[in-house]
């Protein structure tokens, strides 16, 4: 019982800032950031299918007026895009480790 207390606390904390509902402005900002990251990933020829689908989900949610879900999806899309950018840059050298010599 003792160990799970701090975990519950942590969870509660992480939701605190999201208290007020997101509005269209929040969505636009989050979507723009996600889109730039996604474009960069595409330019590196290393886009992920999940980035594209999450970005589309964000737009769909926003069109439906559900800005909470739209902002969450846009943030996730941005994270995915950034991860694919990191993958592309780190693989520039990392691929040699697997090469059959």
């Amino acid at each position: 019982m003792k160990r799970s207390l701090p975990v519950a606390m942590l969870l509660a904390l992480s939701f605190a800032p999201m208290a007020r509902a997101a509005n269209e402005a929040d969505y636009k900002a989050a979507y723009a950031a996600a889109e730039t990251a996604s474009k960069e990933a595409a330019a590196l020829r290393n886009q992920w299918t999940t980035t594209v689908s999450t970005l589309a989900a964000a737009k769909k949610a926003a069109d439906g007026g559900d800005f909470d879900r739209a902002v969450a999806a846009a943030k996730e899309a941005e994270a995915l895009a950034k991860a694919s950018i990191f993958q592309a840059t780190s693989e520039k050298e990392a691929w040699k480790a697997m090469e059959i010599r």
Partner: protein, 287 residues
């Protein structure tokens, strides 16, 4: 010391010295050496699967699993790509509107030449694959190009592959720095991890051929393109090299590039070159 043990010790130390000399070749400042790459690539698979006959590697998953091989041989008695083959033969003989046929675009009338594709076009400075050459032939004769992932292209390449069955893959790299660079690009693409799954082609086809990903057995990378185009039960239809690359990408959640993108042309060049000497076995049937 009895003579026998001293003899044993002598030969052991000689072997050790020899081994030290030939330890993984010292990498000169990243000079591209396709001949050495191909040798290392083939030896890797010959040593990893000593009881698989060299020419069997072109049969992909069926060289790795007896039960699957039986299912395949049963299918090969009357293979599902039979219709694509007949369609391809007919298309090959049907003249374009301007009276010419595919035979006019290809050396030896397009018969028995699949093992030389893809080749490096020194004029264009790029790799040209069989699928690209076919569409360029169509456009040169005023016909609309075929989709790279649909049945017409698969039928044409199926027929051309069939006319080369059994011939050893014979890809040449001209003495041209751009050709070496294309080869290196293809190699890099093959080993680069991509997609949210973070797999490279090598993660599946070098590190774990013969193992299962759910119902399917992974094919070894050696000779993996020799059987293309393939009729896949999964697609219940034919698949060209382009379609195979695209679906592999999307399986690892990497957004596929456009068919015949430079990366795909180069990785086809790399994979075909390292399979030199192994027989063409297309068109193939796969799970």
């Amino acid at each position: 010391m009895r003579p026998a043990t001293s003899l044993l010790l002598g030969s052991l130390s000689a072997a050790l010295v020899a081994f030290a000399l030939t330890s993984p070749r010292v990498i000169a400042a990243d000079k591209v050496d396709p001949v050495a790459d191909a040798k290392a690539f083939q030896n890797f698979f010959f040593q990893k699967f000593p009881d698989v006959k060299h020419e069997d590697f072109v049969n992909g998953p069926y060289s790795m699993n007896e039960d699957m091989k039986r299912q395949w041989q049963e299918k090969e008695e009357f293979p599902p790509y039979e219709f694509a083959l007949d369609a391809g033969k007919e298309m090959f003989a049907t003249p374009f509107k301007n009276g010419k046929t595919y035979a006019d675009c290809f050396p030896n009338g397009g018969i028995g030449i699949r093992q030389n594709y893809p080749y490096f076009d020194t004029k264009e400075g790029k790799v040209v694959t069989l699928e690209l050459a076919l569409n360029r032939c169509r456009e040169a004769n005023g016909e609309a190009p075929y989709s790279y992932v649909k049945d017409e292209m698969a039928s044409l390449t199926a027929y051309m592959a069939y006319t080369s069955r059994g011939k050893p893959m014979d890809i040449r790299i001209p003495d041209d720095p751009r050709a070496l660079e294309a080869f290196e690009n293809g190699k890099r693409y093959f080993y680069t991890r991509r997609g949210q799954m973070n797999f490279s082609c090598a993660s599946c086809h070098v590190q774990s051929p013969g193992e299962r990903i759910r119902a399917e057995i992974l094919a070894p990378a050696l000779g993996i393109l020799n059987a293309l185009p393939i009729y896949r039960s999964e697609w219940s239809g034919m698949g060209t090299t382009s379609r195979r690359f695209i679906t592999c990408n999307s399986q690892t959640r990497a957004l596929p590039l456009e068919p015949q993108a430079d990366e795909y042309r180069d990785v086809e060049y790399f994979l075909s070159y390292v399979a030199n000497g192994l027989p063409i076995s297309g068109p193939g049937a796969r799970p």
